[in-house]
Every structure is written in C-alpha cells, then in structure tokens.
C-alpha cells in the first residue's frame, strides 16, 4: 500500500482541540467536521487540502482528548497519511482503529517542508521526498497492527 501527496506541515504537540475544536462536537458527521479540521492553527486547511495530501508534524501529535473525531476528521478531509516524530497514544490507537495510516519518523518530520511532494510505502516504511530527492526510513508497524490497518479499521478486522 502506498500514499502520495502534497504536505501540510505543523510543529510539536498538535493537540486534538486544534485538530477539531470541541465546539463542533455536537455532531458525529465526519464530513461536516472536516470543514473545521485544523482551523484554530491553520484557518485555510479545509480550503487548501486535496484528496491524498499528507500531514507532517513533529513530536506528540494528537495529544489531549480521546475524541476519535480528530483522526476521523483528518481522514475525511482527504489526508492519506500523517507522519510525525511521535503520536500521543490515544490518537495512535484511534488512527489505527479507524484506518488512518500514520507513521513515525524523526528525519522525515524534521526535513519535510510545507508543499513538498511525498510518497510513503507502508510495506517497507520508506518515505520518499520527491521535491527534495531524499528518502527517510520510517518505523514499520507490528504485524498485528498492519492487519487492522489493511482491514480499514478494528471493527472490520474483528469481523474477518
């Protein structure tokens, strides 16, 4: 499985309150929530994001609330993968459970810049920066988690 797209870049400790503010959580409609995704730190994100784009951030991405609306609104906005130095654990779990691909890679999080064209090979964990002509080795997942991701989420994998 591969993902390929243009990068939206953020810093450390991007919390779930800025990914999707609680004031919008009176709905569980993820397409509606995607319209407000990231708006408190990147007002134009929903307008600019294209299907297949990639989000890159630094340490502790998704810290804070357990709201699954956070990874789900990122996924619904069209983002195909989130790369970060590290993920907050509930976000990490939620992303896997709902089938939003995520990958940890220090070097990619440092070197990739906003607007770069990036490709990720989930089988090998290799991240290729087409704009800069560089590649970085990301952490691959244990088999147990790959199965969940490949089934497009926990509930589908439980059924299989």
């Amino acid at each position: 499985m591969k993902a390929c797209g243009k990068v939206h870049k953020y810093g450390d400790n991007v919390d779930t309150d800025v990914i999707i503010p609680a004031r919008y959580l009176n709905t569980a409609n993820m397409e509606e929530l995607a319209q407000h995704c990231m708006e408190d730190i990147d007002i134009d994100f929903a307008k600019n994001v294209q299907k297949g784009d990639i989000m890159v951030a630094k340490a502790n991405f998704g810290c804070g609330s357990s709201r699954e609306h956070a990874p789900a609104s990122i996924k619904a906005s069209g983002i195909s993968c989130v790369i970060a130095k590290s993920f907050a654990r509930i976000f990490y779990r939620n992303a896997i459970n709902i089938g939003l691909p995520i990958i940890e890679c220090d070097e990619a999080a440092e070197k990739i810049e906003k607007g770069d064209e990036v490709e990720i090979d989930f089988d090998t964990g290799v991240i290729t920066n087409k704009t800069k002509g560089e590649s970085y080795q990301g952490q691959s997942f244990p088999e147990f988690l790959i199965k969940i991701i490949n089934s497009n989420g926990l509930l589908n994998s439980l059924k299989e």
Partner: protein
C-alpha cells in the same frame, strides 16, 4: 523479572502469568465508559458493523455530562441517540440530567471501579480511576464500540515511571500543584505510552480526592495510565460504595522502571500552568501580573467536595473582583447537595459566583462559560490548549481551587496568601 502494578493487572486480565513491556495482549474488561460526545460515534460504528448485542449490560456505562443540560439541538440529538441505545440494551449505569455528574467524579463516587479492575473509557481522563488501584485508560469511540460488543480489547503492555511520594503538603498547596509540578518536570509527552506509578510513605497524606486529581492528569504527561498503590485510604473510600470483592495488585520488589523520581510534598508550592500547554508550570516567584476575566472552579480534575471546601475557605466573606466572572460547578449531584448542606453554595453566591448544575461545560469550550477573543481565565480544569475554553485567541491558566479562588478575588492571578 518483576512486574509493575499495571503489568500485573493486565496479565491477570489477559489470562497470562506474566507480561512484558511492549507485548501486545487481548485483555478482558471490567467496565466500558462513554459520554455524550464519544458514545454517538461508538453507536454509529456498532450499528454499521452489524453488532446485535452488548457483552454485559452491567459493565457498560454512559454518562451524559459534556454538553448537558443539552446546549443546542445537535447536542440534544446526540443525547437522545445515547438514551435510546441505553434503553434498547437495558444498560444499567446510564446517567442523564438529574442524576448525572461529571463521569470521572461520578463513577468512583458510585463505587463502579474497584482496585484491580481493567477499565476503558472513550474519554481521555478515564485514567482518573488509577487513583483506586485500577488499570484505567482513555480510548476512542471505535475501541468503546468493540469493548461494548466483545468485552475485551487489545493493549500494548506499557513500561512505567515510578514516583516515590514522601512528606506532606504545606498549607494552601494542593494535589493539583503536585501534578502540575510533575508535568512541568517531565513534559506533556514525558510519560508517552507509559504508566505513571505513584507509591511511597507520603501516600498516606494524600486523600482519595487528591489521588483522583493527580491520576486524572496523567494523560497530560502523555501517560497511558496513572496508578496509585492501594492502602488504607483506598479501602476506607470503598466502604459503603461497593460490595464487589476486589484484588489488590502490588508492584513486585524487582519490577523494572524506566525512570524513578522522588516527590517531596513538603516542597510543593502553589503552581499555575501558563498557556498553551499543561507543562508550562510556574510558581509564584515567576509569575508576572496577569489580569483575568473569568475563573472556573469545577471539572473532573477539581470539582469534588474537598475542592469546593478549599475554594469556599478563600471566598468566605469576600467578593469576586468586579471585572471577573467566577463559575463554580460541583461535579456531581451528591457533591452539589453536600456543598449546599455545608453552606458552601451560600458562600459562593454571596461572593458573587455563579453556581451551575454538574457539567463538563466550559472545560472543553462546550458551554456555560465560553471565552471571547483576548480573554483570560484561571481554571481548575486540566487543559489550556489553544481555543480550549472558547476563542482561539483566549487564554487558560490551570491552577488549584485555592489559587483559582484567590485569583477571582484579586482579579488577577494570585495565591491564597495574597488575599487571606
């Protein structure tokens, strides 16, 4: 090699003699929790996946606490969806307006969690129940759904950081100051993927409410769970709340910890976490004059009776500053009633505070005290992220009930000694 408290509880729930940090396990669950924001997503997934039954009607709890009493039509629809699901499956511990309280204050009060339990909740502050010596962690709605259907879920066994608690808190220092100090020390990802285990001779000087406050904010250091050794304080708290038998798990003497810290309670000073991260902890020797517009005393972190007593001690016979709106939110109906009987509500109202029915409300910027652009609040809540309590250009300063009440009187960030 020995196991930590958390590892022992997880091993027992996975039917294994031993587990190691990093191991992936399937564990049985004693309780699955959701609220009015996270449960609708879980119900949608439950229906989409085609599940037709829940694993145990007594081991699922739904608490309508976030946007209640319903703040708008959409919030009302979400609660209605939860209510209908709870009714359809005859869920025993469904709590709605009138008997609802903030989930992490309510469940311990009702005796729904006992030492040794494994609990998941679709709310990040589910780690609160570690105060009772349970393994308890926040998850998302899909996990809640799988938990409701199957009564089990997967975990990666965490390693742990040990906090050896010694000494006794000085006057006007609080459990909130201790946990803000710890988060300031290790950072908002200092315990990422790991347990925070609290033990030591100083534990006897921390009440159950102190422990609930500290375990509650383990997530703000990125921890999977916070957990306290079980002692007489725990056993005393459980008396009269539950007749369930429980098993006490102790860490092995040779358990391995990633890091160990000693926390001397006698050195803890009133502390404030500045915007926009809980790790920005400062003591009053390093706090400039910060004028404020609002004070919130409540939440799953600090809305319990001892918190209200602390705030009332400061506010008695005083007035909230003219330019400050002070909102007091008892976390459960029982706390509300106790505060009323003890005359605390009268103290708050005489001081010029608004007193609200239990709700998470302003803590997450839902309702009941939203901030405008440029406004600042001192809150006894747990997060001060950008836009957490309202406008993205507003600011939240996290503090104890003592500091929050003193700040309400002073009209700026203040400690009790400034106003007493």
């Amino acid at each position: 090699m020995g196991m930590t408290m958390t590892q022992k509880i997880l091993a027992a729930h996975a039917g294994l003699d031993e587990v190691k940090a990093g191991q992936l396990i399937m564990a049985d669950l004693d309780l699955v929790l959701g609220n009015d924001v996270t449960t609708p997503v879980a119900i949608n997934e439950f229906n989409k996946a085609g599940f037709t039954d829940i694993f145990n009607k007594d081991k699922i709890t739904m608490v309508m606490d976030h946007f209640t009493p319903n703040k708008d039509i959409k919030a009302a629809q979400q609660c209605k969806q939860c209510r209908e699901f709870a009714s359809k499956y005859d869920i025993t511990h469904y709590y709605d307006v009138g008997d609802v309280g903030i989930e992490h204050a309510l469940l311990p009060e009702k005796g729904l969690v006992v030492p040794g339990d494994a609990v998941i909740g679709a709310d990040s502050h589910t780690c609160t129940y570690g105060a009772l010596g349970a393994f308890s962690t926040g998850v998302g709605s899909t996990d809640m759904c799988a938990g409701m259907a199957a009564g089990k879920t997967w975990f990666r066994v965490p390693s742990a950081i040990k906090f050896n608690i010694v000494g006794k808190l000085p006057r006007y220092s609080a459990a909130k100051d201790v946990i803000l100090h710890i988060i300031g020390m290790i950072g908002v990802d200092g315990a990422l993927y790991r347990s925070m285990e609290f033990s030591g001779e100083g534990l006897k000087n921390l009440t159950m409410e102190d422990r609930l406050c500290m375990a509650n904010m383990a997530i703000e250091a990125g921890a999977k769970n916070g957990i306290f050794a079980v002692d007489e304080v725990t056993k005393e708290y459980l008396k009269g709340r539950t007749d369930r038998e429980y098993k006490v798990f102790e860490a092995d003497a040779d358990a391995e910890y990633d890091e160990e810290y000693t926390i001397d309670l006698s050195e803890i000073k009133p502390t404030v976490a500045f915007p926009h991260l809980p790790e920005n902890a400062r003591t009053f020797d390093d706090i400039p004059e910060v004028k404020i517009d609002q004070v919130v005393i409540g939440s799953c972190t600090n809305g319990r009776i001892e918190d209200l007593r602390a705030a009332a001690e400061i506010l008695k016979d005083k007035k909230v500053a003219d330019h400050v709106r002070c909102i007091v939110i008892p976390a459960t109906q029982n706390i509300y009633m106790t505060a009323m009987k003890e005359g605390l509500l009268e103290i708050f109202i005489n001081a010029g505070c608004a007193v609200s029915t239990p709700t998470c409300g302003p803590c997450l910027g839902g309702h009941m005290g939203i901030l405008a652009a440029g406004e600042r609040a001192v809150a006894t809540t747990n997060r001060n992220f950008v836009g957490r309590m309202g406008h993205p250009e507003s600011e939240v300063y996290l503090a104890s009930p003592y500091v929050a009440a003193a700040s309400a009187v002073a009209g700026k960030i203040a400690q009790p000694s400034d106003v007493m």
